[in-house]
């Protein structure tokens, strides 16, 4: 096992590691989609995960969140080994995610959906003897999250009728309702017209500094603007990683990723 160069930086910063993977590997038959992935996300960091289509970025998030089981390796959340835990246990320990393709409750409105997520976190979602309307703290918390993401005025609208950009924000709202320590954002502005994607990223930028973020994003302007550190994934393996300036100057990255983007 080689020691990645950034370990030294992190040690100097003295920050605790919020999420780490150790030798994480996954293959579907002969197709290897994650090869010996070693990631260390320091607490409060904003990391971007980039790479060409099919590099295994979403797969990596699926592995971290327990939606896929790895063939080998470990996932550590705040030092605790969570590799054997199911997705909902990981969420309860503070690891949340959003989905690249909207994975929302189409028939619920935004208020109901976020209230449900808050109720789950508070452990009151199994209660059937009192109306939702009488759980005022749960509702207030849900509405606060919605307001923070500027969804307050459309929270009574049924999800499937919300404008697409608002649905993307609701993705984030649902994740925030779980009060995550680490949030994995899978292309938060995917499908949103470029002129509106800024709104989504402003919302991401406005998240608490205590929250550790890892986001997948294709728009390099956005990546360079919001990420403090970039991991480049190619064919299921970490190609390189480092601060934005280093990645931007890396000719290898230009070749495998930036160059390709112009054609694709």
């Amino acid at each position: 096992m080689s020691t990645p160069a950034h370990d030294a930086e992190d040690a100097i910063a003295g920050s605790a590691i919020a999420l780490a993977t150790r030798g994480l590997s996954k293959s579907f038959g002969s197709l290897s989609v994650a090869r010996n992935i070693e990631i260390n996300l320091p607490a409060g960091a904003r990391y971007a995960l980039i790479g060409p289509n099919g590099a295994g970025k979403t797969t990596l998030i699926n592995l971290m969140t327990g939606m896929l089981a790895p063939n080998a390796g470990q996932i550590l959340l705040g030092g605790e080994d969570i590799t054997a835990l199911g997705p909902q246990e990981r969420v309860r320990r503070g690891l949340a995610r959003t989905f690249q393709i909207n994975t929302l409750f189409a028939g619920l409105n935004a208020l109901e959906a976020v209230t449900l997520a808050v109720a789950e976190r508070r452990g009151v979602a199994g209660r059937f003897w009192r109306g939702v309307g009488s759980h005022s703290e749960t509702i207030d918390e849900a509405y606060e999250i919605l307001s923070k993401l500027r969804l307050g005025d459309s929270c009574y609208q049924i999800t499937r009728e919300l404008p697409y950009g608002r649905q993307r924000l609701l993705e984030i709202a649902l994740a925030l309702a779980t009060r995550p320590k680490v949030l994995l954002l899978d292309e938060p502005a995917a499908g949103v017209p470029q002129e509106e994607s800024g709104e989504v990223f402003e919302a991401v930028a406005g998240l608490s500094d205590n929250l550790t973020l890892l986001f997948i994003e294709h728009d390099m302007h956005v990546v360079f603007r919001f990420a403090s550190h970039i991991i480049v994934l190619v064919s299921g393996a970490i190609f390189t990683e480092g601060p934005p300036a280093k990645i931007a100057a890396d000719p290898g990255v230009r070749e495998v990723y930036l160059g390709k983007r112009k054609h694709g």
């Binding site: 309860r92 994975t103 619920l108 199994g126 003897w129 939702v132 049924i158």
Partner: protein, 318 residues
């Protein structure tokens, strides 16, 4: 739907969701009409109330949690046989019978729910169908206990509260069925408007998202299925008690299919869908079997196809 909500607080909005609508009050007042208008049909009215109760129980899992069951009659039958046997072996007090029947059906439902909660879609349809057939054959086979195809004979109920005897005209029967239906309805109404009801709708709307908000969907499903099974058992018990007879039909696939038809007809996931579906189905069955005793299912088929083509989401589906 979201009109005039601008001035409403989020809590006020959610509270308003569970407020009684005037039409609901009209509906429940209308359930008293048979006493005045159709005193000769009180036995039928009682059967409708029982069937509505059964449909209500299926609505919790099918309409709200989105889980299709083709074997729900198993729990109806367990409740019916439990209530019948308790009476046959000498304890004819109706309310104890109801409680024990609901407990028996709920217990079996709880055990089965560990299987149910692991599967979805076609697999779940096959599993519930299989479990339903299993229950039917078990009841058929246990002739010594259930009377098999001859039905369970020798049930004799004591008067309700020691006062109201089950009469030939079905006066007590309908009153009894209606009260049980109404009380369970109140509980179910509360349940679907609770955080748990919201979680069930979450499971229906997006099964994949639930774990991502930290929800244990399987635990929710186990709970919902157990409650639904207990209510189905209650419905079966009321039928056994009011008719003083349990036939194999009460645990048959036909009953599972019928209740599904009623719920789809009335509108699943709307609380009143099963109730309205039960009224239409049972009245239609009564009328059609008067016209053509042998072929009345033909007309039920016509009714179903027509309704579903015109109103794909059921009568209350909008």
């Amino acid at each position: 739907m979201a009109l005039a909500t601008a001035t409403m607080t989020p809590q006020g909005y959610l509270q308003a969701q569970s407020r009684w609508h005037p039409l609901e009050i009209v509906f429940w007042l209308a359930t008293l009409l048979p006493f005045m208008l159709f005193p000769d049909y009180l036995s039928l009215a009682s059967q409708i109330a029982i069937t509505a109760l059964f449909a209500l129980s299926l609505d919790i899992i099918l309409g709200y949690a989105g889980l299709v069951s083709l074997g729900h009659a198993a729990f109806f039958g367990i409740g019916a046989y439990t209530a019948g046997l308790i009476s046959k072996f000498g304890w004819g007090e109706p309310l104890t019978g109801l409680v024990l029947a609901a407990a028996a059906a709920g217990l079996v439902g709880f055990a089965v729910s560990f299987i149910i909660a692991r599967f979805r879609h076609f697999t779940l349809i096959m599993i519930t169908l299989g479990l339903g057939l299993l229950a039917f054959e078990a009841a058929n086979r246990a002739h010594w206990l259930t009377g098999g195809s001859d039905g369970l004979q020798g049930i004799s109920m004591w008067p309700v509260f020691g006062l109201f005897k089950f009469d030939l005209y079905g006066y007590t029967a309908y009153t009894y069925s209606l009260i049980v239906l109404f009380i369970v309805f109140l509980g179910t109404r509360r349940l679907i408007n609770s955080p748990f009801g919201l979680a069930l709708r979450g499971i229906r709307e997006n099964w994949v998202r639930m774990p991502a908000i930290g929800a244990d969907s399987r635990a929710h499903i186990r709970k919902a299925f157990t409650i639904a099974a207990a209510i189905a058992g209650l419905a079966g018990a009321v039928l056994a008690q009011t008719t003083e007879n349990v036939s194999l039909e009460s645990i048959s696939f036909q009953r599972s299919a019928d209740v599904l038809v009623m719920l789809v007809l009335g509108g699943a996931g709307r609380l009143y869908g099963g109730l309205i579906g039960a009224v239409i189905f049972m009245v239609a069955r009564d009328q059609f079997s008067g016209i053509a005793p042998q072929y009345w299912y033909f007309w039920i088929g016509v009714l179903l196809v027509t309704f579903v083509m015109i109103l794909p989401n059921g009568i209350l589906g909008g």
